[in-house]
């Protein structure tokens, strides 16, 4: 390998490149050269091939694509001579991973090298398998590797590699090792004298016991022996001591293995172990040499973990706490970091809380450390150690830190502060203070759950109401306040502002003025809240204030024609209501109390804490086999709950409240839910009982597919999910039937967006699968269930979606013949251990294959007449039609690309329309339709549809019928109203009734 001049020259050339461009040119030249040589096998000497493969690895390290050379690297593995073979093995294990198909080509050679007699080849093959071997290797090679590991004729060199190679195979396939037959061998291996083999074998053991500690119980005393040999007797060759410490790594491994056994029952083993541990705890001094210090503390911290795991005698535990207390105050950052980390773990052990509290001020100092790693540990610890006695101090520290914390920590911080404030509030006014401060300091990072919760508290605690109102009023005086603060203070002042009436600056009209100043700067979702507040202020104004009334009416008038339905409806209704006197008072009466429920914030936090409570064993056991990906998710050791995600409302035409309310749809088991608690009653009229029956009724039913004409031929949206779907799947589908991009599905972990382009009878959809989390989604599977009339091709989706990543999966659609059937996407994924699956209708509906076309009367009528009657032209009287004015009906037709041709029909109550339909069987075919309406009864009409193809005529007629009966207003699908509220003075279509709380007002009037 010495003297590969060409390689050195190439590296020098690269180093001399002045810039990236020059480097690229040089690399391209070299790659061209390599390609040519690889093609011309005859002139390629083994030496040259070896040189080129090394160059490829170098180029690969520079970040260039060398996929073309994978084959060459793999083929060198079968070279007969060591120099080439070695390059083949090493470069292959750098360039390829277990998922590459090429690797299978080498499997036979690798096996022959493993079972062959050439020790050097054995080593190369074991190294390759150990580093990149996958399941294929695990299945075929494990017995051979086991033989090598226990062979008495192999050198330690081979055996240590065999031990780790076997570890890899076991991780890939735990069945590769049969515990019954192997446990005794494993125990024997731990008697090994050679420390290289022993270190590797102990690593193997850690993995084995994490999977099944019972089978390997005979190894437990052996681990204690190893520790005695190293830590007590110092019985190791000089070369295995590191700065005078007998292999710290082996000591750590042996103690790690012991942490997978639940207890140590044998008294003498236990005694020996505790002697060793005691020696480590007491005998580790701080020394000057950094490396020695680190190594001895590596052992010490592992010993601490083991002591905590064994839940040792009180005396030893308090020794540990004392040590940790010392560590968290040292200057050396690594030790301080580990002190904080281990103290957090220590919290799981009872009885130490009080001792840890003594260090509170020290821990708070670390919260201000310049190193974010230390700050994170301090935050975790403070969060863990907080209780009623210290909550005030800790939360106030967190609030203070919030203003200076980096953005990446603020969301976690504010959530933690909010949870602690709620959990341990000594008095409720303090809780209100904290949340308002949170919103003030870090509004962007305060999720909606947090402010909803404070509103719940205030509503349920009368004593708190005047205080909360005056606090809210104070914040309004600040010049720039966060929008969330506007929301929460508007809500509170609307409800309880009148309690402040006697205070200066707090009359209804003054409250209105100061709130109204904020209105120009808030976003659409906040305006409805302000309008409700205005209505309430107006009602509470005592004595009645005609000036105020004028101002507020002017606002309502202004928004009466607002494009946002929610705002428009509130404006119209409040305006009307406010003229009604007594009825106004009834409707706008104070909000009823919320049912007492556990905070969803705390619930979430507790769910996470449950996992954190698991013993180190479980934690590690869960983690060990997860070696699939860098991104694979270990359990968080901190009690940090995942950040709460509140879905954005952008891209949806629903009003934010209905989004929010339909967001956490409990499928199956209704879970107490914050958002529905809060937002339900935001509709200002209902008593709590009404709220749940009238409003939650239909919402709860939203997860179930509603009747959509006759088109739902497949078991759509049959939810086996254990997750809460965000938004309404059916509504999303309906919206996507009329537009070409949007969200198809969303839950807390994944969002599936869709984007479509249609040309004639073909379409190209792209599914965007976005992982919303910081851990990967695994076992992602998508399957298309195509109806007979569509040809669909879905590009495969990768098995794993990395954290926060989005993958795209194109779906090619070809329309063969007219049909209203819908394709269904069957998709599933795993989040942690949770399997989520759903069946989603794909919006490749009949109307997507229509192209608008506008016909003149000269074009229309001859064709119309040429279609004489059934089956090419079908007529039907459709009843139960949603009443629509003609212009609205025209808009509806245009929205599914059946173009209204104005003025063609002499009768002004009729509409004629045309479109071109594309499919493989029909080609481009003109479709014509006529709708005759009855001005006296808008719920029925006569529909005539004609085209040159009987199936098309029938399917299109049925399709139009579905649209007329189920009118998707905006994106909203019709949900049958729970109680047939008489649509008196109904400003909006009754479609809004079901999921729009404001709409229920109409029924009350």
């Amino acid at each position: 390998m010495t003297g590969m001049r060409g390689l050195s020259v190439f590296i020098s050339d690269i180093r001399n490149c002045q810039n990236k461009e020059a480097e690229r040119l040089r690399v391209d030249k070299e790659l061209g050269n390599i390609r040519t040589c690889f093609k011309n096998e005859k002139v390629l000497t083994p030496y040259k091939k070896k040189k080129y493969v090394w160059k490829m690895l170098y180029i690969h390290m520079l970040g260039y694509d060398v996929d073309f050379g994978h084959m060459e690297a793999v083929s060198l593995i079968s070279a007969p001579k060591y120099p080439e073979k070695q390059v083949g093995y090493i470069v292959t294990s750098c360039l390829l991973n277990e998922n590459h198909d090429f690797l299978r080509l080498a499997i036979n050679t690798v096996r022959n090298d493993i079972i062959g007699r050439n020790e050097t080849f054995q080593c190369l093959a074991l190294t390759l398998v150990g580093n990149i071997g996958g399941r294929d290797f695990a299945e075929s090679l494990a017995p051979d590797v086991q033989k090598l590991l226990i062979s008495s004729s192999c050198r330690p060199l081979v055996r240590k590699k065999a031990a780790l190679c076997l570890l890899r195979l076991f991780r890939k396939n735990p069945d590769a090792i049969n515990a019954d037959g192997w446990a005794d061998r494993m125990a024997q291996l731990l008697d090994e004298r050679d420390l290289g083999v022993l270190t590797s074998s102990t690593s193997l053991l850690v993995s084995l016991v994490s999977n099944n500690h019972e089978a390997y119980s005979s190894c437990l005393p052996k681990c204690v022996k190893i520790l005695e040999r190293l830590a007590r007797n110092q019985d190791v060759p000089q070369e295995y001591t590191y700065y005078g410490i007998p292999s710290p790594w082996l000591q750590v491994k042996a103690m790690r293995a012991l942490q997978y056994f639940p207890t140590i029952e044998d008294p003498s083993t236990r005694k020996s172990l505790f002697e060793v541990l005691q020696r480590i705890l007491m005998g580790t001094d701080v020394v000057k040499n950094v490396n020695k210090n680190n190594a001895s503390h590596a052992v010490l911290f592992e010993a601490l973990s083991l002591v905590m795991h064994l839940d040792a005698e009180k005396e030893m535990m308090s020794q540990c706490v004392a040590l940790l207390g010392k560590f968290i105050s040292v200057r050396e950052p690594n030790i301080r970091y580990l002190g904080l980390e281990n103290m957090t773990r220590m919290l799981m052990v009872t009885d130490v809380q009080d001792i840890i509290k003594k260090h509170q001020s020290q821990i708070i100092t670390s919260l201000k450390d310049p190193d974010i790693s230390i700050r994170r540990r301090a935050l975790d610890l403070l969060y863990g150690m907080c209780d009623v006695s210290n909550a005030k101090d800790i939360v106030e520290e967190l609030l203070q830190y919030l203003s200076t914390a980096e953005f990446s920590m603020r969301e976690e911080l504010s959530l933690k502060a909010a949870i602690l404030a709620e959990k341990f509030a000594p008095d409720l006014s303090w809780y209100v203070d904290v949340i308002l401060q949170l919103i003030d300091k870090a509004g962007d990072f305060v999720s909606d759950d947090i402010w909803f919760r404070v509103v719940q508290f205030v509503t349920n605690n009368e004593d708190l109401q005047p205080y909360a109102a005056s606090k809210a009023r104070e914040y309004l005086d600040k010049t720039a306040i966060h929008e969330t603060m506007v929301k929460v203070s508007a809500y509170i002042l609307g409800e309880y502002g009148h309690l402040l009436a006697r205070q200066p600056g707090c009359s209804a009209s003054e409250l209105f003025n100061i709130l109204h100043e904020k209105l120009p700067r808030v976003s659409t979702p906040t305006i409805p809240i302000l309008l409700s507040t205005y209505a309430k202020l107006l009602m509470h104004a005592q004595p009645p204030d005609p000036e105020l009334e004028k101002k507020i009416w002017a606002v309502f008038k202004k928004y009466e024609s607002c494009i946002d339905v929610e705002i428009q409806q509130r404006a119209v209704e409040y305006f009307e209501l406010s003229k009604k006197g007594a009825a106004f008072m009834d409707v706008l009466a104070e909000m009823p109390k919320f049912p007492e429920r556990q905070s969803s914030l705390i619930k979430k936090a507790e769910e996470v804490e449950d996992t954190a409570d698991q013993s180190a064993i479980k934690l590690r056991a869960q983690q060990q086999p997860s070696n699939a990906l860098v991104l694979a998710d270990p359990q968080p050791v901190s009690g940090a709950p995942p950040p709460l995600k509140v879905p954005s409302v952008s891209g949806s035409t629903q009003n934010p409240e209905s989004v929010a309310r339909s967001l956490p749809q409990p499928n199956g088991t209704p879970s107490p839910d914050l958002l529905s608690d809060l937002l339900g009653p935001l509709a200002i009229e209902a008593s709590p009982g009404d709220v749940s029956t009238e409003q939650h009724g239909p919402i709860g039913a939203e997860g179930v597919p509603e009747e959509v004409g006759g088109s739902a031929i497949v078991p759509v949206e049959e939810q086996t999910n254990t997750v809460e779907v965000i938004g309404n799947i059916a509504e999303r589908f309906h919206a996507l039937c009329l537009k070409d991009s949007g969200v198809l599905y969303e839950d807390p972990y994944i969002q599936i967006g869709i984007k479509a382009e249609w040309r004639g009878h073909q379409g190209r959809l792209v599914l965007f699968l976005g992982n919303k989390n910081t851990s990967p989604l695994t076992s992602v599977q998508t399957l298309i269930l195509p109806p007979a009339h569509l040809r669909l091709e879905l590009s495969p989706v990768p098995d794993t979606i990395p954290p926060r990543a989005q993958v795209q999966s194109p779906l090619e659609v070809m329309n063969i013949r007219p049909s209203r059937d819908v394709a269904v996407l069957d998709f599933s994924y795993m989040f942690g251990t949770k399997l989520v699956s759903a069946k989603l209708r794909i919006p490749a509906t009949l109307n997507k294959f229509l192209q608008p076309i506008q016909l003149t009367s000269e074009e229309f009528f001859p064709q119309w007449r040429s279609l004489s009657g059934p089956p090419l032209k079908l007529q039907e009287v459709v009843r139960g039609v949603r009443p629509l004015a003609l212009p609205e009906m025209a808009t509806l037709f245009n929205s599914f690309r059946v173009t209204i041709c104005p003025g063609l029909d002499p009768n002004p109550n009729n509409l004629v329309a045309s479109s071109t339909f594309y499919s493989e069987s029909t080609g481009a075919m003109i479709c014509l339709a006529r709708i005759e309406t009855d001005p006296a009864d808008r719920t029925q009409l006569r529909l005539t549809v004609g085209s040159g193809d009987p199936t098309l005529t029938f399917e299109l007629k049925e399709f139009i019928k579905e649209q007329l009966i189920t009118i998707p207003m905006g994106s909203r699908a019709l949900v049958p109203a729970p109680t047939p509220a008489p649509p008196v003075a109904q400003p909006l279509s009754p479609a809004a009734l079901a999921d729009d709380p404001g709409a229920l007002l109409a029924g009350l009037l």
């Binding site: 060591y82 050097t120 994170r376 694979a632």
Partner: protein, 142 residues
């Protein structure tokens, strides 16, 4: 276990990258970029540990070179930190007074040494002497 090892200079040039978990090429580039950004600006008085996605990176700087190991959250930090140092001592011994240029021009040897030191993401051999002797055995074969 060690998920990957990176050796990068201050400019972010990768001098050695070894992955013990299967990653796509594009993901590797991303990881290398992110890890470099994570460690390069950290003060020398800071800890040698940083959280990286759902794992943590144990890193150490030697002159202009950063040695980074990505390990599991529950792994023993200090043990891995000294594992880096042991690796550096081995390189130093092998190249007698190692510098970045040695690693650049002899990157293939660095991979060989690493394969004798770490396997399957676990420590294989902690005796400097054993590794150096093994390397001279291998050089004779070449």
């Amino acid at each position: 276990m060690i998920r990957f090892i990176l050796l990068q200079n201050r400019q972010g040039k990768t001098r050695l990258a070894k992955y013990y978990v299967p990653l796509e090429e594009s993901e590797k580039h991303k990881v290398e970029y992110e890890v470099h950004r994570l460690v390069v600006n950290r003060d020398s008085k800071f800890t040698n540990f940083v959280e990286f996605r759902t794992h943590k990176v144990i890193y150490r700087r030697y002159a202009g070179l950063f040695f980074s190991l990505c390990v599991d959250i529950t792994d023993n930090e200090l043990a891995y930190l000294e594992c880096i140092h042991l690796f550096v001592e081995i390189l130093d011994h092998f190249f007698s007074n190692v510098c970045e240029l040695d690693l650049v021009f002899n990157f293939h040897k660095v991979y060989l040494i690493l394969d004798e030191f770490i396997l399957a993401g676990e420590l294989q051999e902690t005796s400097k002497r054993a590794i150096i002797e093994r390397m001279s055995e291998l050089e004779k074969l070449d």
